[in-house]
Amino acid sequence: MSRLELRHVRKAFGGLDVLADISLSVGAGEFVSILGPSGAGKSTLFQLLTGAEHGEGEMLFDGMPLDDHGRHFAFMPQRDALMPWRRILDNTTLGLEVQGVRRQVARARVVPLLAEFGLAGFERHFPAQLSGGMRQRAALLRTVVQERDMLLLDEPFGALDALTRAAMQRWLEQMWRHHRWTALLITHDVREAVFLSDRIYVLSARPARVLREITVPLPRPRDPTGAAAQQAGALEAEILDILLNPQPSKGHDHD
């Protein structure tokens, strides 16, 4: 049974149709990506899930209508959204603090994970003292430590340069294999989607529809150099082609 299921979800801002008709599902322990052009409505989808906005259609969680939006998801926004005025340790415990967990307890939960996230020794640093990659790791730690049922990641590596990004993707893939989180990732980087996901939903330009659902048959651990890389490359080219020449009709001009 799927953890999260969306059925015919629609959303318009004033007169602007943003989400036309989105149906998708995420199984328990599955890593699913949403890929789509800029301005399609990807972040809007997360706004619906986190309760920041309300739309039409059904949203089910474990088969029940999704009502208490602040309970099921740990949300990681585009960029890292670390608070510059909080030390790394206090940034990572933020989610627990908001849940009402006592500071001591929250720290005790976070500290053992610091090493695994490559942040040991940086607890007392401010975000500005860390590199982009380390900041992303801190943001991810803040997200996963909330121990919610599911991760929502909105272009978590959007602000990084291509090289740091590749390294972070490798690291995230490792972490995911280890923890088997249920995760929904938004991205507009085709390679990232292919590298990380079990399944990919490709969205059209606004108003967003699901253009294609693609299962990624690559074995894990994923390897960006081996033979599977050839297969990945082909898949990437295919998806890029879907995005650049959308099937149904009216082409999406990139401007």
Binding site: Q47, T50, G51, A52, H69, G70, R71, F73, F75, M76, P77, Q78, R79, A81, M83, P84, W85, L94, G95, V98, Q99, F126, P127, A128, Q129, Q146, L152
Partner: protein, 249 residues
């Protein structure tokens, strides 16, 4: 340094241009007289400092309370801001004497005037500061289950700090000038009264000495706010300043 040069030029001009010391006393004389009358100057600086600080504290408190209100109820902003803008256009000289009629001679009218001068800049700084909160931080907090009040305390308030301090530096200058002005409207003691008395007793040197004291006072308060900022915002000091982060000076 350049301030020193200016003083030297003034000294030379005062001594050699033949200008009367009743019109422009030399800085050396001003300094000498300031030293001679230091007790009186200090004695008069105290009430001015008190009015400045209390007035400024009230203004801060009011600005803070109102900024929160405005932040929580956005429509209030549109309703109240025109009033405050108009309040900034009122010439203090004309208002000051009326304030004494309304509030008498005590500290109150001074505090009111200092607050009038500094309230709006602080309010604007705070409101601007709250708005500078990263949208995504707010969104993330709400997704964590935080209410409006939690979001305010955890995110909006700290985000406003750089703006707050920029506003503080500007306002503190006006606060001193405002307090001196308020004394003109009726006070037993204070730098403003000291200036007035010195003038009516034909002592321009003492007027300038008091001006010097008030300038020094302002600079000290200015320096203190800078110090306070360093203490209150360690992350700006330690971390590399990301470009275009807060409002500059």
């Amino acid at each position: 340094m350049s301030v020193g040069l200016l003083l030297v030029a003034w000294e030379l001009y005062a001594n050699y241009s033949g200008i009367k010391p009743t019109i422009l006393p030399a800085p050396s004389r001003v300094f000498e007289q300031a030293t001679l009358n230091r007790e009186a100057l200090i004695d008069n600086a105290v009430p001015t400092i008190r009015a400045t600080l209390i007035g400024f504290a009230c203004s801060l408190g009011a600005a803070f309370a109102l900024s929160m209100l405005v932040d929580f109820f956005q429509p209030l902003r549109r309703a109240l801001f025109p009033v405050f803008i108009v309040s900034q256009t009122l010439p203090l000289v004309a208002i000051a004497p009326l304030v004494v009629l309304w509030f008498g001679f005590g500290l109150t009218p001074k505090i009111m005037l200092v607050a009038l001068v500094t309230f709006f800049p602080m309010l604007v700084a705070l409101v601007q500061g709250y708005e500078a909160t990263e949208v995504e931080i707010g969104q993330m907090l709400r997704a964590m289950g935080a209410g409006r009040w939690r979001v305010f305390v955890l995110a909006r308030l700290p985000s406003a700090l750089p703006y707050f301090f920029a506003g503080l530096r500007i306002s503190i200058t006006y606060a001193v000038v405002g307090a001196i002005f308020a004394e003109y409207a009726g006070a037993a003691k204070g730098l403003g009264i000291y200036m007035l008395n010195a003038k009516n007793n034909f002592r321009p040197d003492l007027v300038l000495a008091a001006v010097g004291v008030s300038a020094a006072l302002t600079l000290i308060l200015f320096g203190l706010t800078a110090l306070l900022q360093r203490l209150a915002m360690p992350w700006e000091r330690i971390g590399r300043q990301p470009a275009g982060k807060g409002p500059g000076r």
